[in-house]
Symmetry: C2
Subunit: 224 residues, 2 copies
């Protein structure tokens, strides 16, 4: 099966090229873009539902929703009055840069300051496909267990921030946060870890503060 | 990128061929094989830890553990005294039939009656790669949410049985079992649904009864 390797490499190279073009477009339109990745059901849409209404009112936001099927998540976001574009990958296990480029035609980037891309629920494949985003945020959830950074190192390695969601469930789980953190630090020394509950609101302030710092640094790079 | 399609099709065809050979080997050695698939952290290893000690003592069991990294799950299974082989895919997001064929060299199939293959934690890609197993069992967990069959239809469509784990957490979640079941039935009319908690033992009897019925039908096909 060695003949497939050049083809895969060609695909990844082509993806990188389009990701760079996406990034150049985001920089030109002054749109800060966050790629949000996690397992199925870790709470990516819930994090957006908790985050978007807590942002300053003058931040114009948009969302790109990636799913292999259904519009369920896009409907949850649209209910917030936020501009949202759905990508249905038709079975593909990740978003890629060309898919995002296609979706951008449906967003008024010149007007938008901050766009979240909710990737397909998958803790493996999305890590291999750059989209052009400024930040990669990886979401884990406590019921998935504290061993996830050890078992899915590639995803946790590329995270600029890690959010550990469903903290409200910890009393009912055998979840050891120290083991989780130790595993995270084995592959990623610097990404901040935010322990949150999108349900109760616990921990969201620290995440929002960090996100807005990065957002401000992008929009006003000379203030630092 | 159209040039990649024949290559992907070639890979899938090659996988199907090896899967058929694996199946022929399992039939020849009278080994019943179950392919267990789920999201990361839904509880595949916990299901095995709950299932293996509850099987009749004369059933000789083995486990193939698929992970992209680490031996954590294999160690949990080995602690039960069950024959276990670890496959580390080195980043690949699913097991394929050739990987399983390689692992089989380390299992004494002539001695084993029942082998579980724990696939990589991924609710998408493993559905595309037959391994040669007699049963595909899909595990979901309540904290992932009741929308999973709608969002990951490919995986639920091919299930011979669906196990909904972590039933003990339902009181603390916004989980509607009717919505889950309705989504499951949209893509899979016949697979039995077992609602269980590997932690409390709730619901495991029904799963074990069904599994052993299928196991007996394999080993004694003329009794039916």
């Amino acid at each position: 099966m060695t003949e497939t390797i050049p083809v895969v490499q060609h695909l990844l190279d082509a993806n990188e090229q389009v990701a760079r073009e996406n990034r150049a477009l985001f920089d030109r339109t002054r749109t800060f873009v966050v790629n949000l990745m996690s397992s199925p059901g870790a709470g990516k849409t819930s994090l957006l539902q908790a985050t978007l209404p807590r942002l300053p009112q003058d931040v114009q936001t948009g969302v790109i929703e990636g799913d292999i099927a259904s519009r369920l998540d896009a409907e949850r976001i649209a209910a917030l009055g936020v501009a949202v574009v759905q990508i249905n990958t038709g079975g593909t296990c990740h978003l890629d840069a060309p898919m995002v480029r296609g979706a951008l035609q449906h967003l008024d980037l010149d007007r938008l300051d901050l766009v979240f891309i909710e990737n397909v629920g998958n803790l493996i494949c999305p890590a291999n496909f750059a989209l052009g985003a400024h930040l990669n945020v990886v979401l884990a959830s406590t019921p998935e267990g504290h061993d996830k950074p050890y078992k899915y190192p590639g995803m946790f390695r590329l995270a600029d921030a890690v959010i550990l969601n469903k903290a409200d469930l910890i009393p009912w789980l055998d979840f050891d946060q120290q083991i989780f953190e130790r595993g995270l630090r084995m592959v990623n020394a610097h990404a901040p870890l935010f322990v949150v509950s999108c349900k109760t609101g616990e921990g969201l302030d620290a995440w929002l503060t960090w996100l807005l710092e990065r957002y401000e640094a992008f929009h006003h790079p000379n203030n630092g």
